[in-house]
């Protein structure tokens, strides 16, 4: 036994060409190559479908109700903006306001007591 037969040329079974001719005839008979217009029609239909999807998606987006405005976009009313309570918050110098005190639903007299610190105010209710 040797390795020569590894590369020896073998004869194919007889009648191969005749069988191939038959198969070729069958394939030619059954083959109905798609006409060119059909290829273009398919490609056109695919493009139209994609365009339709895009239009539907865009229209749906435009129908969505508008988002409420952001807090930053809101303009405060001048009454609120000018209220003394917001002086410190907005960095404005504090305004002097008259102090009123009520006791038992009646206004009470208030006397300011002098202090060494100008930023500190002490009142005495009489």
């Amino acid at each position: 036994m040797n390795a020569d037969n590894l590369f020896k040329q073998l004869e194919p079974p007889p009648g191969g060409a005749e069988r191939f001719t038959r198969r070729l005839d069958e394939a030619a008979a059954s083959a109905s190559p798609a006409p060119r217009w059909r290829t273009f029609a398919l490609a056109g239909a695919a493009c139209a479908a994609v365009a339709l999807i895009v239009v539907v998606v865009l229209r749906r987006d435009s129908d969505t109700p508008a988002m409420p405005p952001l807090v930053a976009d809101l303009q405060p009313s001048p009454e609120i903006y000018n209220a003394p309570a917001f002086d410190r918050l907005l960095g404005r110098p504090a305004q002097f306001t008259e102090l009123t005190v009520s006791r038992n639903e009646q206004s009470a007299a208030v006397v300011e007591v002098e202090t060494a610190n100008a930023k500190v105010r002490i009142y005495q209710i009489e």
């Binding site: 390795a3 037969n5 073998l10 079974p13 191969g16 069988r19």
Partner: protein, 168 residues
Amino acid sequence: MTSVDKAKWIEVYRHLEKPLYNVVYRVIWDSVESQDVVQETFLRCWRHNADIRADGFKALLYRTALNLACNRRRRTRLWRMVGGTALEDVADDNAADEPISKPVRAALDSLPDALRHVVLLTEIAGMTYPEIAAALGIAEGTVGSRKTRALALLREHLEVQGVVSHEC
């Protein structure tokens, strides 16, 4: 298909059937199946006739044949696994009629596909390195290195089996 086209394809088939058959046979080891694969190869190429360049036809033919043969072998192995030993027994019964001895076949089967394809295309089909490079989609240098490696592995395998001796 015109009669001229048909005659041309049959002529090319007659011319290339034998080398293709010999390559395919050494992948699937069945004469009838191999001839069927060769014919299927030609039919596929005929269906894509319009896309085939004349200078790449041979490469395309062998690449298609090898792909079909590998698929067929994979499918046969799968069926053998599913069907148990029935087909193996049939193969053993026909072993005496096989044109290539079992140890030699085993040596070739032991090669990875990448190496086996190169050795089949160089030694059986007699293709040049550029042709093989085009058929397998690899560099020409790779063809040479794969062939050297494949032949070394074959020799090693056959020596272990006692088919060839060290002196050869």
